[in-house]
Symmetry: C2
Subunit: 404 residues, 2 copies
């Protein structure tokens, strides 16, 4: 059940970046479940990964391959290859080697990514025998089918694409993401693949991606569960006619803004597809003493099952929001200075319900599909936003029946 505006956009192809998909029968019998991405020689690759201490075998391998100037991504859905021990690492490497053989590269230039059930052995033979078909399918126009091949419990493919002018030349940025549950990314999401034709060296590209994910994928949560397989990759093919993007330049600022906008849209689409979601909730914490404090308060609200079920019921139960702010661990919080707004309706001020507040006003906001909650802490200047969704019967249903 998707919330709001989620249609797949027009995707600007990235010259030098090709995508191919096919069905390997991992969990799906018909839908494509393998994606291969190939970048032409001479580009840069940046990536960020989950901070879960138990990162999956493909994540461990991808991290180690990142310094080898990778040119290929190999993604499968239906199996996460997580919690699979040494065998999992061997399996992930075997898949990389299989792809390298098909494309005449080396295994260390392949970054592997897996998403799906945790703890099942990866079906290596199925995967490698499907690779020739995926490689034969490689084309610059295949972003749409790529977005579909990486889906698991997602109900729609997620894409974002933009073109930005760099020194009088167009630079395109195009990306896809997947994810609907086990979503509280920490340094990356599960999964995002973005490419650009900009010319930019690896160090600067990595800096750009890290900054963009911090304010996009790291600001969303469905259920507070950080996945073992989160990863986000940014490929730069260098095929644009635009000048090289250099550190601390005006071009970099413009490029970084555009990458951030694409990341934010891809992150927002994950929340719009949150498992069981019926509402998109933007939690904005203002007047915090630091960005970290603002995020901490926003995430405490965003993770509260009581707040999330109240949103599902369209119940303006602001006491639950207030209680969540109160338990967020902020030292010396002064209740009298807090203001809470639902949309533009002030519900809490001076330590209690606003005298002007009416349930009718609150109800009007809660009936909307997209809701802004603003909390003003009265402690400083920092402001941060976190995106989340509500908690419905369908969340329980989807996760209770996931493996059946």
């Amino acid at each position: 059940m998707a919330v709001g505006h989620t249609e797949f956009p027009i995707m600007h192809a990235i010259q030098g970046v090709k995508l191919g998909t096919c069905n390997a029968g991992i969990k799906q019998t018909v839908r494509d479940d393998i994606l291969v991405v190939e970048m032409a020689d001479g580009g840069s690759c940046a990536a960020v990964f989950t901070q879960n201490a138990f990162c999956a075998a493909p994540v461990q391998l991808a991290k180690s391959h990142l310094s080898m100037a990778p040119r290929w991504l190999l993604v499968n859905s239906g199996n996460a290859n997580a919690g699979t021990g040494k065998q999992g690492l061997q399996d992930a490497f075997a898949c990389c080697a299989g792809l390298a053989g098909e494309v005449e590269g080396i295994a260390q230039q392949v970054l592997p990514f897996s998403t799906g059930v945790i703890g099942e052995p990866l079906p290596v033979a199925k995967l490698t025998s499907a690779l020739p078909k995926a490689v034969a399918d490689l084309a610059e126009a295949h972003w749409d089918q790529a977005a579909r091949a990486i889906m698991t419990t997602d109900t729609f493919p997620k894409g974002a694409s933009t073109v930005v002018d760099i020194g009088g030349h167009p630079v395109a940025i195009t990306g896809i993401s997947k994810g609907a549950g086990m979503i509280q990314p920490n340094m990356a999401t599960m999964l995002g693949f973005i490419a650009t034709d900009a010319t930019i060296d690896q160090t600067l590209l990595q800096q750009c991606l890290a900054a963009a994910t911090e304010v996009s994928f790291n600001r969303i949560t469905v259920d507070g569960d950080t996945s073992t397989n989160d990863a986000c990759v940014l490929l730069a093919s260098g095929t644009s006619t635009a000048p090289e993007i250099l550190a601390d330049s005006e071009h970099y600022a413009k490029f970084a803004d555009a990458v951030t906008a694409v990341c934010k849209r891809l992150a927002e689409l994950i929340i719009r597809d949150g498992e069981g979601a019926t509402k998109l909730i933007r939690i904005r914490v203002e007047q915090a003493s630091s960005a970290a404090e603002a995020v901490q308060v926003a995430k405490t609200i965003a993770h509260s099952p009581l707040v999330k079920t109240a949103f599902f019921a369209s119940d303006p139960n602001w006491g639950r929001i207030l209680a969540a702010v109160g338990r967020a661990g902020v030292v010396n919080l002064v209740l009298e200075n807090i203001e809470i707004y639902l949309g533009t309706v002030c519900i809490v001020e001076n330590g209690g319900r606003s005298p002007l507040y009416t349930e009718q006003d609150g109800q009007r906001v809660m009936n909307q599909q997209e809701i802004l909650v603003t909390v003003r802490l009265g402690r400083g200047e920092a402001c941060e936003e976190v995106l989340t969704c509500d908690f419905s019967y369908d969340y329980v249903k989807i996760n209770a029946e996931y493996r059946t």
Copy 2:
């Protein structure tokens, strides 16, 4: 929907402690919603309160009255008097003064407690006009009806009672609790009232209660939401023939153990009545490097909506448990050293699924109504347990419809 063994026990009366209840029409029209507890002169009173930064008006007032040798407790259900600003404090005090007038005490010797909806003004007139009836009802035998009068979304009254031998004399400890949602107590629960006829001074009684709540009420969670109104009180009437209990004595150790056992039972009953609960889950973390680390890992598992929905579905989805351990924030966690057991069945060892594990074995454990999850971190000697329940359709239903 209660999990397992929850019948109301035989409650040993505490000489010198009387309880009276009545209906004040706060939210209930028939069921009693007011409880008055009166302790004879000369006893001691200890109490612990919520750590939520926005503690409710009655909690603020009770904290300040604790140093005044309180002899009366005044509890209402149906309204939390939280998020009610200065008016809330005035209202809580007016109720204390009302009771003091009835019993010829002073308002500062009354500890007020409220539980129910947050953010609604307390109906003071209804409450105070019902007090004479509650006071007329005071009797030592009224623990059962007291347990019923403090219920909100609870589906059954919760009590525990024991007698311990102190120096050849019986000492009784009897308590009641309430709570089913917004449960992750931090220093106290919402609400626990325990009394004993032991002779023990206030300082030692406070130390005893703080230690007991730390390993009982502070080790349970339904939804991770710490209430604004949590409180737990221990009254000692000093009417037993047993010798006074002194610090660092054998008698104190025995008494403290008995108080802890009563607190643990009252805490467990709250989880058995967790909103929508179908299963009781005991999460035991062993071989942690500190108690704090063990609690941190156990609570991360206990709060994971993915783990909780898997328990609801009786799905031995151990990957979700592993992922929760991995995101618990433990520094330098080594996956290869972790072992995870469902009941006595080893599911994870050496970084992956145990070679001896079968889904059938896991399923057999998951089908039980009470489940032990053991996580061995391989880092040290500390061991802690946290109790929680599963996450069901009914949790969403109860909390989506709470105010309607």
